[in-house]
Amino acid sequence: MEVKILSAKFDIKDANKIAVAKPLGAYATLDKLFAMKPEEVIEEVKKSGLRGRGGAGFPAGVKWGFLPKNTGKPIYLTVNSDESEPATFKDRYILVRDPHMLIEGIIICSYAIGCHDTYIYIRGEYTTQVKVLQAAIDEAYAEGYLGDSVAGHDFKLDVTVHRGAGAYICGEETALLESIEGKKGQPRSKPPFPAVAGLYGCPTIINNVQSIASLPFIIEKGADAYKVYGTQKSPGTHLFGISGHVEKPGMYELPLGLPILEVIDKVAGGVWKGRKLKGIIPGGSSTPVLLPDEAKDVTLDYESMAAHKTMFGSGGIVVLDETVDIVQLVKNLIDFYHHESCGQCTPCREGLGWMLKIIKKILRREGSMDDVNLLRELCDNIEMKTVCVLSAACTMPVRSYLDKFRHEFEAYVQNASSVQAKQE
C-alpha cells in the first residue's frame, strides 16, 4: 500500500546532505522551472489538485491565485513547520531526512508567486531538527541554490528560519505571522486574509511543509503524474502518522483514498496485544472520533471524512483499544486546548477552563447528569464565536465523544450518585 514520492529519500543515509541528495535528483527541476512562466507553474499546481497538508485541505494553487497583483509591496512566503497538533508527526521527517526537497519546493513556490524572502516557522521544541534544516539551507546557499541568483538564474531568494518557543497556537497562520513580527502569538481577525495583508502588512502565502515539499514532484513529472495517486478530489500521497494502540505505529506515505480499517490492519499491524478496537481519531486530536462500525466504509480522503462528519485533518491517525477510558481521554484533550488558548477570546479562554473544571468534577465522581449536559451545551456555545478555530478544535471532538460514548460519562455520574447515596 505504501508509495514513496515524498519519502523516496527518507531511508537513504545522509540524504539530508546536498552531496548525497543532488545525485539522487535534488534541485533537478530548477532548469525546467525557470523555463516556465510563473503563471504556468501556478496553473500546473492547480491542475495537480494538491491540497494544503496543514489540516484544512485548501487547494494550494488556488490560494496562490488570491495574491493581488502589482501592489508595489513585497510578497512573502511563510512555511508552516509548527507541527503541534497532537498526533501529528510527519513534517519533521521532511525537515530531517530530505530538507533539500523542502528547499527546492520553496524555490518553486517563491518563483511562482514572486517572493524573494521566505520564512520557515519551526516549533521551538524541534532542536535537533532545526540544526539539520539550517545546515541544509547553508549548503544550498554555498552551492548557489539560494541567494542573489538562484541556480544561475535571474532570481533572488533568501530563506530564514524563525524558531517558535512553545505555543501550539502559532501553527494558526495569522498567529504565526504575529510571532515572526516579534509579538505574542494571538491570531488576527480575518478578513483581511494574509494573501492580501499578511506578514508586515504585505501579501503573504502560508503553506505547510508537506504541501511545499510536494511541489518538486509535480513540476518535474507533471500534474497528471501526481494525479495517478489518490482520488479525483483528493489527489496525491500523504505522510500519515499512525499512533496509539497499534502494533506498528509510525509514519507511512500512502496514496489518499485507502480504506482506514485496512490501513490500520495491514500497514500499522492492527490493534496491539490482540485487543478490540474501540475508536479511531482520523486526523489529529481535533478531529471527531469514529466508532469501529462507522469506520467500515471510511477512506483516507477529504470527502469521505466529511461525509462521515469528521475531518481528514493532518493525517494523524490515533487508534484506541478497548481499554481506553473515554472520560479520561476527554480530560486530556480539554487540558491541552485550554493550556494552549492564546487568551484573547472569552468563550475560548473561560469556556475551555469551565469545561476542564466540569470534566474533572465528573472524573472525581462528583458530577451529575446536569454536568454532562452542560458540557455538551458549552461545546455548542463556544464554537464559532471566537477569532480562530482553536476553540472548535476542542469542542468538535469533545462533542463527538459525548455523543458516541455517552454511556461512559453516565457511568461516572451514576456511580457518583450511588457514592453520595451511601454517604447520606
Binding site: 498526533a87 519533521r92 521544541e125 517558535g164 508586515y200 499512533s243 486530536s285 486530556n332 491541552f336
Partner: protein, 168 residues
C-alpha cells in the same frame, strides 16, 4: 517553570558572547523590522545562559531599540523561555494524547520517585528539573521524553533508568 510573572535579577549586566553577537548581527539583516528580532534574541540569551534574566531582557530591548515591555510580553507568552535557572538536565515529558495512551504516567511516576520532584520543580543539587509538556511531534514513538532538547523515544522505565544514570 510554572510562575511566568516574575523576572529574576542577577545584579550583573548582561552581554552576548562573541558567537551570539555575530549571530545577532547575521539575523537582524534578515528581517525588515527590528522587532522581529525579539524571539531570536531571546533564544540567543537562553542558549548562552540557560535562562533569561531581567538584565538580559533590558539588554535586548535596548539593542533592538524597542520597549522592554514588548520583550516582556513575548518572554512571558512563550513557555519555552525559562525565567529562572533550570536543572543541569531539564527533563520534559510529553503528557498529550498518544503519549498518554502509551504510558506517559509510568514515566512521570518513576521520575517523581527516582529524583524526588514533581513537574515544575528543580531538585536540591540542581541536577534535574522536570516539566510536563504538550505533544512533541514524536507520537509514533510514544512515550517521548526530551532532555536538554534531545529526544528519547519509545521510553519505558528500563530505558529511563539507563538514561538517568548517564546524566551526572
Amino acid at each position: 517553570m510554572s510562575d511566568r510573572s516574575q523576572l529574576i535579577s542577577t545584579g550583573k549586566p548582561f552581554q552576548y558572547d562573541q558567537e551570539r553577537d555575530a549571530e545577532f548581527e547575521r539575523l537582524i539583516k534578515r528581517y525588515p523590522t527590528r522587532e522581529s528580532m525579539i524571539l531570536p534574541s531571546l533564544w540567543l540569551i537562553q542558549e548562552q545562559e540557560g535562562w533569561i534574566s531581567q538584565e538580559a531582557i533590558a539588554y535586548v530591548a535596548d539593542r533592538i531599540g524597542t520597549f522592554a515591555s514588548k520583550v516582556y510580553e513575548a518572554v512571558t507568552f512563550y513557555t519555552m523561555y525559562q525565567l529562572h535557572p533550570m536543572g543541569r538536565h531539564h527533563i520534559c515529558v510529553c503528557r498529550t494524547l498518544s503519549c498518554w495512551l502509551r504510558g506517559k504516567q509510568e514515566i512521570i511516576d518513576y521520575l517523581k520517585d527516582e529524583i524526588g520532584i514533581i513537574p515544575g520543580q528543580i531538585d536540591e543539587d540542581g541536577r534535574f528539573s522536570l516539566e510536563e509538556v504538550e505533544c512533541l511531534g514524536h507520537c509514533g514513538t510514544a512515550p517521548v521524553v526530551q532532555v536538554n532538547g534531545e529526544f528519547h523515544e519509545d521510553m519505558n522505565v528500563d530505558k529511563l533508568k539507563a538514561l538517568l544514570a548517564t546524566l551526572k
